[in-house]
């Protein structure tokens, strides 16, 4: 069950050839020799990291006199993690959920098990939360989670089996139902079942759902990450959509880590670690806020308080005991999500 070498053997061979030559070229990273980093990330961070990479490169060159080029790779979080497991030479990964990063340890021992404790705030330098997007004027009067399970309300959310982002949506709904007055595992499950009865389409990814909601006109409410909701309301569909912030939601923590095996092999550890540290700096936090992620820094967050309304947030550790447990109970085959659709699934 180690790296997946057999399947794309042909590709793997040629990749191995490439990576060898590229690591030779950039091996010693001291002095003024140029250095490149590869940041393997998930889809919606494209614009954030485009800005951040430029800012970091400038700062690093000013401080160390070394030119650093950061290459970006974006895709679905799970797919990106599998690419790294299968040998993509990522120096750092910045993914949507800790479960995908955990797998870099479990499947390929690329990072230590305690990776998430190495940086502040669970290694998540910026956060987000799950909110609702409704059509202008909120014709269905959506205010909170409870409104999503009403009859005649159509809800758009991607398939949590294929989309890492969608798993946060699902867990936010579950946490709401569990923590409300009189909530229990059973009521939470009933709530989730009712919610998904109102979902007509399960797109494979978050951007797919956004398209379904915004372009196809399907659904009364879109469950989305706050940063995606801002993008939709402020930049794509001005005056067509509104954000509704529920009373309770989940603290979405997209984590970052250095990929130890790769940076040690390529000799890029120092710069890779500095790169991630810089996400916590004032400039990094400002850029996160600019791209609608909630900054961790109190000072920066205070400056943008008007943008991010106060929500009662719970974490995945609080309610689910971490990602691995949540994944196994809810999203693996035969889990709660499957049982919504296949009543007697094993």
């Amino acid at each position: 069950m180690r790296t997946q070498i057999l399947l794309p053997l042909f590709l793997a061979l040629s990749l191995a050839g490439c990576s060898k030559s590229s690591s030779d070229a950039s091996a010693p990273s001291k002095g003024t020799e140029d250095v490149t980093l590869l940041n393997v990330s998930y889809d919606p961070t494209r614009e954030l990291y485009a800005d951040f990479n430029a800012a970091f490169a400038k700062q690093w060159e000013a401080k160390h006199g070394q030119k650093v080029t950061i290459k970006q790779s974006h895709g679905g979080s799970g797919k990106q993690a599998r690419a790294v497991i299968d040998g993509l030479d990522a120096d750092v990964v910045t993914l949507a959920l800790a479960y995908d990063v955990d797998m870099l340890h479990d499947k390929a021992q690329l990072i230590p098990q305690n990776w998430q404790t190495r940086l502040l705030d669970n290694s998540a330098p910026y956060t987000s939360t799950i909110v609702f997007v409704v059509r202008k004027g909120n014709p269905k009067g959506i205010k909170d989670w409870e409104d999503l399970v009403k009859e005649g309300v159509s809800v758009i959310t991607p398939n949590p089996k294929t989309s890492g982002g969608a798993r946060w949506n699902y867990l936010a709904a579950w946490g709401y139902a569990l923590r409300k007055q009189g909530g229990s595992e059973a009521t939470a499950q009933a709530f989730i079942e009712k919610l998904f009865r109102n979902v007509p389409v399960l797109d494979s990814g978050a951007r797919g759902s956004t398209t379904t909601f915004a372009e196809r006109g399907l659904g009364d409410v879109l469950i989305a990450w706050e940063n995606e909701a801002f993008l939709l309301t402020k930049e794509v569909g001005k005056d067509k959509f509104e954000i509704v912030v529920p009373s309770v939601s989940i603290l979405a923590e997209p984590p970052v880590t250095v990929v130890d095996k790769n940076v040690d092999k390529r000799g890029t550890r120092a710069v890779a670690e500095a790169y991630l540290q810089y996400l916590y700096s004032d400039e990094g936090q400002e850029l996160a806020a600019k791209h609608y992620y909630r900054p961790r820094s109190q000072a920066v967050a205070a400056k943008h308080a008007a943008l991010f309304p106060k929500v009662s947030l719970f974490t995945i550790a609080d309610v689910f005991g971490g990602w691995k447990k949540a994944q196994a109970a809810h999203f693996d085959d035969g889990g709660v999500f499957d049982r919504i659709y296949v009543p007697q699934a094993r």
Partner: protein
């Protein structure tokens, strides 16, 4: 088509055969055997449970059913398009020629998005179809539509050269011998193009079985209803369940292989029948 084995163009039968085996082995057999090996990490019971779960069964049904429907639709309409392109000269013919190839070139995700836009409730087609009570986007019908779209060029491009080879004289001769237009088609033209039509069908069908990119947009991915097999494989991979994903893939592969083999045998049979007839 049938190059006699006595008149060889390539040097050295053994060398070229050896190379063919090596090439196929490296590109097809080796990766595929890796696929089979991966499933051996499962016990037989686990394998069986994975590949016969309710969702998997529903997905096989949809994938094979929609692929078959799409390939058959393409056989009929692809033949028509090929016929028009070969037999008629009309303004804009070059444009149509180029259009036929478009589904080849278009990234499948773009095709999926475009089709979904057209067929969704507020789209150009969907608006009218929905008024008639016909839902296409996010149903299995939508899956078939996407698969028809991507399969069209295969039938047109395999039938076209064969049609070009059939002289109009043949049709005229049949007519002078008293054949009705239908008889001319059914007994003179059709047997000639049947092998090519079968090839086109096979290609379109095989392409449809593996299609992912365009379908996931229009299908809606509802468990038990509009989940295609490739999506099921992706959901397994999202759980890092490589063995489960390959188990489904192996079933898919075996079924596809058997089907393609059957079509190829049919192909050979119809070809032989054709040669026997033209031998008279």
């Amino acid at each position: 088509m049938a190059v006699s084995s006595r008149r060889r163009v390539l040097p050295g039968f053994r060398l070229s055969l050896g190379f063919s085996w090596f090439y196929l082995g490296l590109l097809v057999l080796l990766p595929l055997s890796g696929l089979f090996l991966r499933t051996f990490t499962l016990t037989w019971a686990q394998f069986w449970e994975t590949v016969t779960s309710a969702r998997a069964l529903a997905a096989y049904q949809l994938t094979f059913g929609a692929s078959l429907a799409a390939a058959l639709a393409n056989v009929v309409f692809g033949l028509l398009v090929a016929w028009v392109l070969v037999r008629y000269r009309f303004p804009g013919r070059d444009l149509v020629e180029a259009l036929v190839d478009l589904p080849f070139a278009l990234p499948t995700a773009v095709a999926g998005l475009t089709l979904t836009t057209l067929f969704s409730a507020n789209g150009w087609y969907g608006r009218h179809l929905e008024a008639l009570g016909l839902k296409v986007a996010y149903t299995s019908l939508g899956v078939a539509v996407a698969l028809t779209f991507i399969g069209l060029p295969f039938v047109v491009r395999t039938v076209q050269p064969v049609l070009e080879d059939i002289d109009v004289d043949v049709e005229e001769a049949a007519a002078t011998l008293g054949a009705t237009p239908w008889q001319t088609f059914a007994r003179v033209l059709f047997p000639g193009i049947l092998p090519a039509l079968l090839s086109g069908f096979t290609l379109a069908f095989a392409r449809a079985l593996g299609e992912y990119g365009s379908v996931v947009f229009i299908s809606g991915n509802m468990p038990l209803r509009t989940e295609i097999v490739p999506l099921l494989i992706i959901t397994k991979l999202e759980q890092y369940d490589y063995a489960g994903a390959t188990a489904i893939a192996v079933v898919m592969l075996t079924a596809s292989f058997l089907l393609l083999l059957a079509v190829n045998l049919l192909h050979r049979w119809s070809h032989r029948r054709l040669e026997a007839r033209s031998g008279h």
